[in-house]
């Protein structure tokens, strides 16, 4: 039995959990009813999900979003001859509420038309990084208010889907630069766009080369290996990691195949069914993003990427009290070794690296 425990003094570092004694319950108490309570609460509050699609124009981003969520999120644009390509990268966000079986999801899709379209694409990732960090900043400001809202609106980007053009060779320098910078700030899922222009063998070879490229340059895409918590996660995520990047095809027209109505693209030599695993890997992408890992994406964004940003911001501007009576932690980022564990931040060097790169960023 614990002796009379005094309240912990503020200057001691708090242990993560006190000494606990396992207890046997001799009958049914009803604790598992808390799961239902959680569900009710979640359904009442609704869910939020923010996704960003990045890629050159013409890779089928808008169509892909429409296909993923089976609704007309965007008008799939086919720029006519008279429409000039935008000179600067413009981000466009659309928010919709979709409901299925009583579950409300507030979905925000951010598109990046004009990415990689210019002749000189240097620093074309800056506006995107800026946007992502701005969302983090907004959340941080809301969080450190004295009187804050009960539920802080979450506009942080939970997932960034990067469309790789189907060249069949390997990742281009633009892709590598962009992925390197972004994978530290947000969950990145690369996909091979317009995969119907590659045969199956070409696809596999392309995928292998991309995986090699990613490994060579140290790019950790979602699902990140360092956040696998237990053996089940590891197994599941390893299977996914083998297939990244998914070769996807987007379509929002329906056709009749063998008497069934399917989404697909109709060409002279056949109909490519979007939901057919033999044709493309769209179902894998959809399952990853929506059916199995949506909550995980949000959790990693909140627990890792947002925390990294917060550490960086607070160290830089001393926004929060660190004086006497408060636990004085967080020495300068460069000297702290990265803590181990699934909730590990990817490491101060990365944060610092990011800081160096965005030193002209206005906070």
């Amino acid at each position: 039995m614990d002796p009379l425990r005094q309240s912990p003094s503020p200057s001691s570092s708090r242990a993560s959990s006190p000494r606990t004694l396992p207890c046997e319950m001799l009958g049914y108490v009803g604790i598992e009813a808390v799961l239902d309570q959680l569900k009710i609460k979640a359904m009442k509050m609704g869910f939020e999900f923010n996704i960003m699609v990045v890629g050159q124009s013409g890779l089928g981003k808008s169509t892909m979003v429409n296909t993923l969520f089976k609704s007309k999120m965007w008008k799939s644009t086919m720029p006519g001859l008279g429409v000039p390509t935008p000179q600067t990268l413009q981000l466009q966000s659309v928010t919709h509420v979709i409901e299925e079986s009583g579950v409300k999801l507030k979905l925000t899709v951010t598109d990046t038309p004009g990415f990689g379209d210019q002749i000189n694409n240097d620093k074309c990732w800056d506006p995107i990084l800026g946007y992502i960090n701005e969302q983090y900043e907004q959340y941080l400001q809301e969080e450190i208010l004295i009187t804050r809202q009960r539920h802080i609106p979450d506009t942080r980007v939970h997932c960034c889907v990067y469309f790789v053009p189907p060249t069949g060779h390997c990742l281009r320098p633009l892709d590598i630069e962009f992925l390197q910078r972004l994978c530290r700030t947000v969950n990145v899922v690369p996909v091979i766009a317009r995969a119907d222009s590659l045969t199956i063998e070409e696809r596999e070879a392309f995928r292998h080369r991309i995986q090699e490229n990613l490994k060579t340059h140290g790019i950790e895409v979602y699902p990140q290996k360092c956040f696998d918590e237990d053996i089940n996660d590891k197994i599941l995520n390893s299977k996914i990691r083998e297939r990244i990047p998914f070769a996807v095809v987007g379509a929002d027209r329906e056709h009749i195949v063998n008497g069934r109505c399917v989404l697909g693209r109709k060409t002279k030599w056949g109909i490519i069914e979007v939901e057919n695993m033999a044709h493309c890997e769209f179902p894998l992408l959809r399952d990853l993003l929506i059916r199995s890992h949506l909550q995980d994406l949000k959790d990693i964004t909140h627990n890792v990427h947002y925390e990294n940003y917060r550490i960086f911001r607070l160290n830089e501007s001393h926004v929060l009290p660190r004086g006497p009576g408060w636990v004085n932690l967080a020495p300068a980022p460069a000297s702290v070794p990265a803590p181990a564990g699934p909730q590990a931040t990817p490491g101060p060097p990365k944060v610092g690296w990011w800081a160096k790169d965005n030193s002209d960023e206005e906070c």
Partner: protein
């Protein structure tokens, strides 16, 4: 952001878009639940009540297990809080349950300060959480939440009204924690007295402005049951861990010569209602109220007390920073002043000590000189004496030799002289 134009469409009142097929995000609540299961839940109950009202027994009965512990004595000098944490597992749900109990509440002669340790304990838990939240490197999702989610206030079954100690304590606690008042050992009150007692208690609480926890009635699924339960507050409960055979079942009960009181019989007491409300229906809501209402209030007060304000959104970061900088400078200045003071004191002390030591040295020297002089005097005296002694010795020697010489001469002559004398005598 100079280089981007962000165009947001349909901000407020986003339009609902119809789905053309099954997307699959209806598994979202399940994903959330899975994640929560892997994280585990924690729930903290505070039991406030006088010694002997059956707090530990009620906890044992509620959770169907025997928590360790011995009954407390009545001789505690002050109120102390005893906290124990247990790991309970039911099917796949793991619950970290912390039960905090007041020891010695209501036993003192002077009970004016009885509520203080309780309030301090609750505040300390909030403080710990606030500190963790304000850390730069924080581990919030792994943090063992020790804030009190529910406070069960045990009312003694007098049958008349609330004691003043109860009123005072509840008034102090109602803005810090969710209070659920219960009538303990309610098998001591008859049914008619019980209804009157309950009415009296509720009216006293209302008239004194004590806000007890109301079960939430805004969600249709639970609104009805919560609404009826709200009318039954405070619950009259009985705790018992003994099982007796009634009919052909083993039930928890207390046996008296005049009958048996069954704990889980709704006609006998409100235990089942309490268990329903506390665990099966509203556990999540209790935790949420603690976090979003009581903790936020504490946080706001604490930060305002430290001098932080958010004025308008534009200058907010700056006012925070300015206040912080000002405080920091103040603190540094104080530190410096203290350091100066200490240094000065140190220098002064050193000087004093030096002076003392010099004095002592001087004294020593003087003493040494005196002693030396003394020795010299003595020595001189001795020498004088020695000299005089020597003189005497030499004088004596001289006389001795002179006498001897005389004697030897005399003996020669004396012999003849004595002869002569003898002859003269003879003649």
């Amino acid at each position: 952001m100079a280089a981007t134009d962000i165009a947001r469409q349909a901000g407020e009142g986003c339009r609902t878009v119809p789905l053309a097929g099954h997307v699959g995000f209806d598994s979202l609540p399940d994903q959330l639940v899975n994640q929560s299961i892997s994280q585990g839940f924690c729930f903290n109950i505070l039991c406030v009540g006088e010694t002997g009202l059956g707090k530990s027994t009620l906890m044992d009965t509620l959770f169907n297990t025997k928590f360790e512990g011995e009954p407390a004595t009545h001789t505690q000098p002050g109120v102390q809080l005893q906290s124990n944490t247990y790991d309970l597992q039911e099917s796949n749900v793991g619950l970290k349950l912390t039960i905090v109990s007041t020891v010695g509440f209501g036993d003192q002669i002077n009970k004016e300060d009885s509520y203080k340790p309780i309030v301090e304990f609750i505040d300390a838990q909030f403080e710990a959480y606030l500190q963790e939240e304000l850390k730069i490197r924080r581990l919030l999702h792994n943090y063992h939440d020790s804030r009190i989610h529910a406070c069960l206030y045990f009312i003694a079954p007098t049958g008349h009204s609330l004691k003043s100690l109860d009123l005072v304590t509840m008034k102090k606690l109602d803005s810090k924690v969710n209070i659920i008042p219960i009538i303990a050992k309610s098998d001591a009150i008859s049914k008619s007295e019980l209804t009157k007692f309950k009415i009296k208690i509720t009216s006293e609480l209302v008239s004194n402005g004590v806000q007890i926890y109301q079960f939430p009635t805004d969600d249709e699924l639970v609104a009805e049951i919560n609404g009826t339960m709200n009318a039954h507050l405070p619950f009259a409960v009985i705790g018992s861990t003994e099982e007796l055979k009634i009919g052909n079942k083993m039930v928890k009960a207390r046996q008296y010569p005049w009958g048996t009181v069954q704990v889980e019989n709704e006609a006998h007491c409100d235990f089942v209602k309490l268990r329903e409300m506390l665990i099966r229906v509203n556990m999540e809501d209790l935790r949420e109220q603690t976090h979003s209402r009581h903790y936020e209030l504490y946080r706001r007060c604490k930060l305002e007390e430290m001098g932080f304000k958010d004025t308008d959104p534009d200058s907010k970061p700056f006012s925070l920073q300015e206040t912080y900088e000002a405080k920091r400078n103040e603190f540094l200045g104080e530190l410096q002043k203290k350091e100066e003071e200490m240094r000065q004191m140190f220098v002064q002390r050193v000087k004093e000590k030096e002076a003392e030591l010099k004095e002592a040295e001087k004294e020593l020297h003087e003493k040494f000189d005196r002693l030396k002089k003394l020795h010299q005097d003595e020595k001189k005296k001795l020498e004088d004496k020695k000299k005089s002694l020597d003189d005497e010795v030499s004088a004596f020697k001289q006389r001795k030799t002179a006498a001897e010489l005389l004697q030897s001469q005399g003996s020669q002559a004396g012999g003849s002289q004595t002869l002569k004398r003898d002859k003269e005598k003879k003649n």
